[in-house]
């Protein structure tokens, strides 16, 4: 679905040259995968996501989305149709005064017949469980609801892949839960390839694969269990692990027969029950 080869990117060239924000990234994301990218601020995660739908084009190397090279300017709209993007701030993404009009904005710009637009909007709102709000004004919605409307707007474009750039950073716990459940549903049931960038480690535990970025490079990669078991390395990169993983890790260092790959409360409880 997404393939990056030897990817380098810097924001400005020439006299005021900035350092490389991406420093040699090689990456392949398969169709239907659920990939979470973590890394501290400035590690290059957001930059990478912006190369994934052609907001930026590589300084060196290349990135191919569903068979299309993003440096191919003629194809930029095709790329954005196939790889949609959801951003951090729910208030910056909604353009219309009525929820359903907002969701219709993308398909309208594709020049689709109106029945098709109607159908896509209804279907998209249904998928994110926001049909009951279709005639409401976006500013009366909660943060989690606004993000789900933003997601519906992307879904109405029928993308194969959605890139989420910290979509939960500004939400409260229940809003976060709504959005995370929506993302997981899209991947599992709608078979959409998901790239999810986050600072919340607990949002990574259901991913197929976790990528850890530092200084513009991918420095760790693996299943959530493989990545989070490397507690000390993650902490050295300024990152956290889920609290349960931390407890498991410390108990293991103290000599107890506990796996350091536990991510959930249930896993650790089961092991501790076996121990005693």
């Amino acid at each position: 679905m997404i393939k990056a080869e030897n990817l380098y990117f810097r924001y400005t060239e020439g006299e005021a040259e900035t350092p490389f924000a991406l420093n040699g990234v090689n990456l392949e994301i398969k169709e239907g995968e659920f990939v979470v990218i973590i890394g501290h601020n400035g590690s290059g995660k957001s930059t990478l996501s912006k190369l994934m739908n052609g907001i930026h084009t590589p300084t060196e190397g290349r990135i191919v989305i569903d068979g299309i090279d993003t440096s191919n300017e003629d194809q930029i709209w095709e790329i954005r149709k196939r790889a949609g993007m959801v951003f951090q701030n729910p208030d910056n993404q909604l353009v219309a005064t009525i929820v359903e009009e907002d969701v219709a904005f993308g398909p309208e710009n594709l020049g689709l017949p109106s029945e098709e637009i109607r159908h896509r909007v209804d279907e998209a709102l249904d998928t994110v469980h926001m049909s009951a709000y279709k005639r409401k004004a976006p500013h009366h919605l909660s943060g989690g609801q606004k993000q789900r409307v933003a997601i519906a707007g992307i879904l109405a474009m029928k993308p194969k892949c959605i890139i989420f750039d910290e979509p939960t950073a500004m939400l409260d716990p229940s809003g976060r839960k709504e959005v995370v459940q929506t993302i997981e549903h899209l991947n599992k049931n709608e078979k959409i390839t998901v790239i999810h960038i986050t600072h919340y480690m607990d949002e990574a535990i259901h991913a197929d694969r976790v990528l850890v970025m530092d200084r513009g490079k991918i420095v760790m990669e693996g299943t959530p269990k493989q990545v989070f078991s490397k507690v000390d390395e993650l902490r050295a990169l300024g990152l956290d692990v889920p609290q349960v993983t931390l407890v498991s890790h410390k108990l293991k260092t103290m000599g107890y027969a506990v796996s350091d790959e536990n991510l959930t409360v249930d896993e650790l409880v089961a092991e501790l029950c076996r121990l005693s």
Binding site: S142, P173, G175, V244, V247, V265
Partner: protein
């Protein structure tokens, strides 16, 4: 410096179809030197409440007394009689705003000057201080948020990272030398390291400078580590008020209002259901490890 709130009610758009009760008869007393975490889902009234604490919003009813200054004096009277107190109230509000510093959400969006030094100096300059005093305040405030004065003073705030920008914004409020610092989600959007840095500095400000700190937060893990007292709001009311240990025991109440407890609290509860008999007020990773070790050792014997 204490904050006393009595029967405080705030209604937005009163008398219109959009009428919303944001605060519903709140009674609270925050004592000098407390470190308070204010939690609640979006729309529970947290932000409305903190804006009342330094007089940015006028309440619909009720009293607010900050350090013996009654900033709501006379507001309950009919319009004509209210005027009598207007001048006095204005004077008190100016005093209160110097003493109660408010850091909004995403304060880095409010940076506007060419250099870090000028931005932080903006507040103290408006107090009419002489140049050397302003400079001293800027240097002190930067030291408090852990930014080296010489390294950063001439930099544009816009060249800095998100975490650094936020520290500049907080320094701008600290330069006013407040006694109470109120922050609305100071760690939102920061990575774990940036978050720990800001929280660490707030802890230092509280412990060493004796500041009263009130943090609005969605992170139960952070509040478990740092706050002495948690105030939980729902639908404009205070529903729980106590130490983090006591508040996080109320898993059902918190979940019913859209909140969660730290993962550790869930772990302790699940282990106790399996007969581990751990104390139910453990809320930190280290606390959990010690208690689990204790049980495992006993069982091994």
């Amino acid at each position: 410096m204490s904050i006393i709130i009595k029967a405080l009610t705030h209604i937005y758009d009163k008398g219109t179809p959009n009428e919303t009760v944001a605060l519903d008869h709140i009674d609270l007393e925050i004592a000098s030197g407390e470190f308070v975490g204010l939690i609640g889902h979006t729309g529970s009234g947290k932000s409305t409440l903190i804006q009342q604490m330094n007089g940015l919003l006028k309440p619909t009813a009720g009293d607010i007394i900050v350090n013996n200054l009654e900033i709501t004096k006379g507001l309950e009277l009919p319009k004509k009689q209210r005027k009598k107190y207007a001048a006095e109230r204005k004077k008190q509000l100016i005093e209160v705003r110097k003493k109660v510093g408010l850091v909004f959400q995403y304060p880095e969006y409010q940076l506007f000057e060419e250099t870090v030094e000028k931005d932080i100096a903006f507040g103290p300059q408006n107090l009419g201080l002489v140049e050397s005093h302003v400079k001293q305040r800027v240097m002190d405030a930067m030291a408090l948020v852990g930014m080296d004065y010489e390294t950063y003073k001439d930099k544009s705030p816009f060249e800095l990272s998100g975490g650094q920008k936020r520290r500049v914004a907080i320094a701008g409020v600290l330069a006013m030398k407040p006694d109470v610092l109120i922050l609305d989600e100071p760690t939102a959007g920061l990575d774990p390291q940036g978050r720990d840095e800001i929280l660490g500095q707030l802890k230092t400000l509280h412990d060493q400078e004796q500041l009263t700190v009130i943090i609005v937060s969605h992170s139960m893990e952070d509040m478990a580590k740092i706050a002495n007292r948690l105030i939980v709001m729902n639908q404009g009311k205070v529903v729980l008020d106590g130490t983090p240990k006591d508040v996080f025991k109320e898993i059902e109440t918190l979940e019913a209002i859209g909140l969660a407890v730290p993962q550790i609290s869930y772990l302790i509860r699940a282990l106790n259901e399996k007969g581990f008999a751990l104390p139910d007020d453990i809320i930190t990773v280290q606390g959990a490890i010690d208690a689990i070790q204790n049980v495992l050792e006993k069982r091994a014997k």
